[in-house]
């Protein structure tokens, strides 16, 4: 019986070989029992296909997108900033410090008898006052504010993650 049902389901689903399809087709045509069972299973198959889907709540899509938006908003600033920018700022500072050190060491005269460090005659401290203009100060403070915000954000996140374990 099960074998008959199994074969008929395969026939209805179209999951049997062409030879099996042909054999089962002729059995349905010739045998009353096979035909009755086939009709029964075919009707069941139609009933199963007609089962209606459940309807989610009206705000389902909105809720999903809200979670996604909230997740994206909480992405740390660190992951948003391009790492190349951070690296180029770091390289600039390292290069400037290194150049300054090389310049100072190259122009320093050391004497063994009297250990004293003398600055070269032609060494003049550049007049930086001319560089300290209003826009430069504004940029400097703006950079400081951004840096302060970034560090505060990182600190608060770390504190919150420790709190939530």
């Amino acid at each position: 019986m099960n074998n008959m049902e199994e074969q008929l389901w395969n026939y209805i689903d179209g999951s049997c070989t062409p030879d099996e399809q042909k054999n089962i087709g002729s059995l349905i045509a010739a045998d009353e029992a096979w035909r009755a069972k086939y009709d029964e299973l075919l009707n069941l198959s139609k009933e199963f296909s007609a089962i209606e889907l459940d309807e989610p709540p009206m705000a389902f899509t909105y809720n999903v997108m809200e979670v996604i938006r909230a997740e994206q908003a909480s992405v740390p600033l660190k992951s948003v900033i391009n790492k190349r920018i951070i690296w180029s700022i770091a390289v600039f500072f390292v290069f400037t410090i290194a150049a300054l050190l090389v310049y100072i060491i190259a122009n320093t005269k050391l004497s063994a008898a009297n250990i004293s460090i003398q600055t070269p005659d032609n060494f003049k401290i550049p007049n930086i006052k001319s560089y300290i203009t209003k826009p430069v100060i504004e940029v400097f403070f703006f950079f400081d504010v951004i840096l302060a915000l970034y560090l505060t954000d990182a600190y608060l996140r770390k504190k919150r993650s420790l709190k939530h374990g």
């Binding site: 199963f48 889907l53 459940d54 709540p57 389902f60 999903v64 997108m65 938006r69």
Partner: protein, 193 residues
Amino acid sequence: MQSKLSDIELIAQTLAGNQAAYADLVKRHQRFVFTLAMRFAKGREDAEEIAQDCFIKAYRSLAAFEGQSKFSTWLYSIVYTTAMTFLRKKRVDTDSIDDENTYIQVESQSSAFDVNSAENKSRSFYLNQAIGQLLPDDATIITLFYQGEQSLEEIGRALGMETNTVKVKLFRARQRLKEKLERNLKHEAKELI
């Protein structure tokens, strides 16, 4: 109004940063995902939680979708794993569809069916009720095959099973659904079938 773009086109737009495209994908698949979740959770609130979790997981790993299978097949595999994790958390026994004890337990839950109200109910009501009494694995395979219009191969891919295993499980699930339907309808079953 839903987008006329294909799933693949919507995915490409989502990956390019268009969140509205993903909202269209959610709208397109939400009914089926929610129905699948209902097959496991048996309660609307839990099903909503599972379905929502699935779409969020799918969004997070959308870049990993290679397009080798249909998006729906990929999404259903997420639904299956998410629902199984959910059930494990809820400590519901879903170890095997052949677990006789569970089978008996589920059957006894259905004994509260009121035969007298049978005449007033629609056909889809009886079928939905019978599906609700099946074990999650059985109900999922039937839903994927008939409502999801997934082939046996695709179901196998979504559930991580061999095609032949799916074929056997589908056969058994249909047998059980038929039995449930007959039990619930008693005399009315013959007219319905």
